[in-house]
Amino acid sequence: MTIAAGSDTIQELTVEELRAKVGTGMEISDPEENMLLSMGPQHPSTHGVLRLLLELDGETIVNMAPDIGFLHTGIEKTVESKKYLQGLVLTDRMDYLSPMSNNLGYILAIEKLFGVEATPRAQVIRVILSELARVASHLVWLGTHAIDLAAMSVFLYCFREREYILDLFEMVSGQRMMGSYFRPGGLWRDIPEDFEPAVRQFLDFFPTRIADYEALLKRNPIWLKRTKGVGVISGEDAVDWGMTGPSLRGSGVGLDMRKTQPYSGYEQYDFDVPVGTDGDVYSRYRCRIEEFTQSLRIIEQALDKLPGGPVNIDDRKIVPPPRAELGQSMEAVIHHFKLWTEGLKPPVGFVSQVVESPRGLFICYLRSDGTAMPARAHFRTPSYVNLASLPQMSKGLFVADAVAIIGSIDIVLGEIDR
């Protein structure tokens, strides 16, 4: 077996050496007795292209190291070489199960750079869509997590409801998934008239669907055996290892940025943060199921108070003028031309914006040097950090339990490798 190391040197390695060497730097405690197993990158239960290097004693995991980077597309570098608006479409493609949450973090960071705030109507619409995205993302999680643990039918029910939410996204943005609907200073355009009744209909039927999922899983003995007491991590360890989102809340730490660092008007809504007690796969599952109900509560309140008025702020350096004005005002034409040729130019400075995505803390760090392209764009993606504690949770368990744990921390490889 040969492997090219560096540009011009060739090293001779045995297959065993190669396995141990490539990718992870994991320390192997007993190379004589234990077996090394490479799980992935093409493996259905790793939810993408994640490779796990496992050291196994029989079927028990002695040590584990995640190996990532198979989906690395250099999104940060690309965003830094594009204008602010062009970078927006790339944020969709990081966490492709809830693009709206990524959009929100990026857009709020740009607005923070400018020091402006969206109009009340835009903020409420953003909240509605972010919460719908959370429900859609949790539905994919529930379906795939259940399919990993051999409960096949849940997947079909979950995707039926998810498709309804994607239709709602298509209604507002024209796209099922990669909407890029939130724009600096507001929204792409106002929501259509059919949107509100369609969301109300969703609010009506979705609680019964939650009851369906509960009937399938909550008291299912196989499900309970596979999830209860598996992959336990204490709240203290979870904080130390930077876990966030429902994965952290399952361990009893009620950290939710919508409550503690409210953005986009989340402080106006009345909702609870579900917190688990045991820190195992089952607790994390319960937290996410409870979040369905809480998201519905937020959406209902938001629809009730949806204010009128414009969806975009009246700042022509950020938002292009309406089409109707272009025929009458030379100034509007100039603004329109400058905005689409030169782009947004935020003042110099650096900011970071935290949002609570379905998976945990999403942080967008932007540094502007006064030009139309971000000098530095960094995304702290929750899946990437949650993955770090996977070895802590899996040691001493079976390989099959590792599958349950990967499902329970709800990783998306698109945002891990970005």
């Binding site: 570098k77 070489s81 760090y365 960094h378 490798d417």
Partner: protein
């Protein structure tokens, strides 16, 4: 009590020289810390009974080319008991002699610093876990640096026979 100010006061009391600059921008406070003091300051911020910055959210490196010092590392801290956010910033002149790892304070730092090393090339002292996370094992260079080319794809097609000949593997005579 204003937690921003409390943190500054506590650090100044314990390490008078540590804070180089305090930046306030858009309601976010950034403390620029001297590189050799970073671990001590982090320990103080985490262990102090009033501050309790128990959560390291993110480590971000910045490349300020052509400024000097060229690099900066941002640490985003969060205090869960106080619901408060703080950013520490360390200026780095030589990326090979970066700040010491803060892994003794927060375990997740090993993982976050590995990302910084892979993509920006700042070597954190005493961090044993620095490895190529995203890039291939044998990759040369660190892509997020400002002097790293974007790497547009080489043009594959040409009408010039000389250009074509350069790329063709001819059998050695």
């Amino acid at each position: 009590m204003n937690l921003d100010q409390l943190a500054v006061d506590k650090i100044r009391a314990a390490f008078p020289e540590a804070i180089e600059e305090v930046i306030d921008h858009r309601g976010e406070r950034t403390l620029v810390i001297q590189s050799p003091q970073i671990v001590k300051v982090c320990e103080l911020l985490k262990d102090d009974s009033e501050l309790r910055y128990d959560f390291l959210m993110d480590v971000v490196a910045d490349d300020m080319l052509p400024d000097s010092p060229r690099f900066a590392v941002n640490y985003h801290l969060y205090s869960i008991p106080n619901s408060h956010q703080l950013r520490l910033r360390v200026q780095v002149e030589d990326p090979e002699k970066g700040p010491a790892t803060v892994a003794p304070v927060w375990s997740i730092a090993t993982w976050l610093e590995a990302e910084v090393w892979d993509l920006m090339g700042i070597r954190f002292k005493d961090n044993k876990g620095l490895r190529r996370l995203f890039m291939p094992e044998d990759w040369q260079g660190h892509p997020l640096r400002k002097d790293y080319p974007l790497g547009y794809e080489e043009v594959q097609f040409s009408f010039s026979l000389d250009e074509i000949g350069k790329k063709k593997p001819f059998a050695e005579e």
